[in-house]
Symmetry: C2
Subunit: 549 residues, 2 copies
Amino acid sequence: MKIALAQINPTIADFGGNLKKIKDFSSRAKAAKADLIIFPEQALSGYPALDLWEDPSFIRENERSIKKLAAENKDIGVIVGFSSRNKARFGKPIHNSAALLSRGKVAFLRHKTLLPTYDVFDEARYFEPAKSNLPFKFKGKKMGLSICEDAWFSEQNGTHKLYRTDPIGLQARRGADILINISASPFIRKKNTQRRKIMSAHARKNKLPFFYCNMVGGNDEIVFDGRSCVFDSRGRLIQEAKAFEEDLIIVDLERLPSPCAAQEISETDEIKSALITGIRDYLSKCKISKVFVGLSGGIDSALVCALAVEALGKERVTGVSMPSSYSSEGSIVDAKALAKNLDIRFFSIPISPLHQAYQKSLKDILNGNPEDAAEQNIQARIRGNILMALANREGGMVLTTGNKSELSVGYCTLYGDMAGGLAPLADVPKETVYELARLINKDREIIPQSSITKAPSAELKPNQKDEDDLPPYPTLDPILKAHIEKKWGIDEITKQGFPQSLVKDIMKRIDLAEYKRRQAPPSIKISPKAFGVGRRIPIARGSYLDDAP
Amino acid sequence: MKIALAQINPTIADFGGNLKKIKDFSSRAKAAKADLIIFPEQALSGYPALDLWEDPSFIRENERSIKKLAAENKDIGVIVGFSSRNKARFGKPIHNSAALLSRGKVAFLRHKTLLPTYDVFDEARYFEPAKSNLPFKFKGKKMGLSICEDAWFSEQNGTHKLYRTDPIGLQARRGADILINISASPFIRKKNTQRRKIMSAHARKNKLPFFYCNMVGGNDEIVFDGRSCVFDSRGRLIQEAKAFEEDLIIVDLERLPSPCAAQEISETDEIKSALITGIRDYLSKCKISKVFVGLSGGIDSALVCALAVEALGKERVTGVSMPSSYSSEGSIVDAKALAKNLDIRFFSIPISPLHQAYQKSLKDILNGNPEDAAEQNIQARIRGNILMALANREGGMVLTTGNKSELSVGYCTLYGDMAGGLAPLADVPKETVYELARLINKDREIIPQSSITKAPSAELKPNQKDEDDLPPYPTLDPILKAHIEKKWGIDEITKQGFPQSLVKDIMKRIDLAEYKRRQAPPSIKISPKAFGVGRRIPIARGSYLDDAP
């Protein structure tokens, strides 16, 4: 039996487009004499559809589409993820399901047992879990079919094991000949190593070949990295699909290939690919072709611009320099040099006349320090308004350029540098920004060296440096990571050698900036805990930091 | 036995302040010779604490605080909601719990059985449900203690009954003498009637007195309306606490009062109270004292300003008129008249000089129609920048003025009229805006009559009227309600007599505006489905509206 894994990039709610893609891949697999083709979790409608899963019309389209697909796909077995109705009277109205389509109809339905409900996942909000999930027979083989989280039964949640059961182990004990898992497993830096280990262990432990089909592509904040793979019954990797691209791989069950080496991709490389995929797919799935990036001459905006050019092509990217009287000559030169290196359209629009116009209009009211936060924010918001005007005029989107370190402590201006449709670096700490910039410059200088080496500055008042307002990034970043990603408290972080007052100050700044992040554009998740849908913090609140002993 | 219900307004994560409040109410109840005082669900930490429930330090503070409270409260039984650790090895690390504190210690712990995981609720994300929840004895009485959703076991989710079990009925069958439910049940217009019916039915069906203690106060988007109540064993209301205010009521179990009439509050009155509570608590819990409201002379901004004055007092509200060359004379006069009627600080800052400065700075780029969306948005964003500058200067907050009808179809400008910390009307349809304005003017003209009667206009180009760009509100609002709140599709709405092309157009506009709403400030929920945390829609997506037959 020849089995194909179709690692596709569906668009949420685009049933027409997704069906076409499924049929195209099925035709290619048929041409290669495959007996069965496997698509990812929720391939029919895209993942995560979120509250569209609660929309009766959306569920009807799911049903209509699966029937249509079944009727039209006669010469090959198809396993595909979609949402099916819960036929019981109780519980959530739908299941997160996989169908085996065979001979013009839905031959078997299997539902997901373990429903992730943490971080970016809300599956208990939408889906009723499977009661049982036994193997079924296709062409003489007993198939143990599971869905994504079913393979992660050993997942920990802090102090607790999340799940009591191992759905895949159960299928093996019930006589499965092969194991199949269809997934929509999001990218997180370095996660693939863990993923590969877990899937390999299922094969080895159950002494069965294991077929893992993952989704690929960006969906708002989430990027799926693909890397679907097949393991033999000793848990050895025997086939692996591409990272961050659609792919079709085919394995002959009777003549399993010999073990192969896994793709080696450095952490910085995979982050870069995730960001490029996230930008490209967000734009294409929003049906927007152009982006505008404000270029300050600094490293963040240079990196965003370079990533956008790789994602979209230089014709679709415009860099805009908006110097003020506080901008150094170097910043203006560096912005221009970057645009030249990338060969993109470039505008320079000085903001001093506009800043002066605001100062004049508000002179009776802003009668304080001309360099305080209110004045600094006016400048950032003038830039936001200019970029949005350009984007509105041409039907484009502004990419914001702030990084995770700044966003964590609120070192950014709402409606100013935070204005835009996508925030590519909002989950990228400053230290990683440097690594990515060096990677971009690996072969030739794209980001001007001086953008990388100079001290970071918002340039919103004379001689301003980030380090006047923030701890140095090599100190800030590890504290942010410990608190946000690892959920460590003051005591745990202080034990790592940081001064308690500094840790407390940073934790308070994180809390206070929540209102800004609530209005931030979507980011691209590369860490275990990104700001956005996976992190939900009340804004109006007290702080136990005041009470703690 | 005398039982007190303490309907309090805790602040999320303010353990010190909440403990103090709990002790104050307990002292008052003790002074009135109560044997037992009952506090709402999660009264110790506030609700909903969201991802703070995943923060180990936050859970430690919960434990520390409950022990402290138990140790200090010796002369009265206290039932109070908090988060306790799950002592099993599996599942979520905490329970949503209620403790009975008696004689200096935690005498009994009970956990919530039914965990709401829909709309604004994410309890399956955080809590492990109770395995069992039997009555316990206090001063000779067997108490059946349940938590919020446990009382809503008959809840429907579209086609399905959400829950299989009735935790309260089970407690009655296991010999409870009285039933107690502690809640944090959010306000939705007209929901209290349903809530009262459900609680009364528990008493009647189980032939037991029923004590229902609800939370009060605003927490970001959610307002709790209180109205805690007591029913006798025939299901008759015998005592009811205030709406939208803290309150303490005491009932003698041996001498139950005779039935009383429920408070009658009109739908418009309760919406008004919810909005005022939401504004007041958001400001106080964010520790911000002043608000700024842009006054266009229209009804929306007038209503927001009037509500803010009722919530905060006139000294804490500033109205800002920012006329442009497209503003009618009437609009300028109406804005000023409103400020005069409310006796608030008032600024007038014409935006024409700023608009001209942008036109000059962008003349090479904005070489198209001077009245298109890009130009209109520039004006709205100048206003946003001015308001934010004022708020930044004085440490205040901008209230946005857009209503739900506009936000639904994207008839609003990101970073322009959407700029602000709270959007009081973002869940209020235009038709309800009119009702609220008439209510505000019940005794004397506060909102100028011409603001109410004139045709709505954004005044961003000459002679612009909302109805040039949108269907009339009496047509738009019912379609929006059907699609957003009732989740009806094209077919169901068309059957109500609306043209199919119009329905489809509006549904598409709703979808396309999702990117704006993602960056909107929090609203105040008054409907079954508000934009914000309770409605989660992907931005980058296709549309089944294109495929549907």
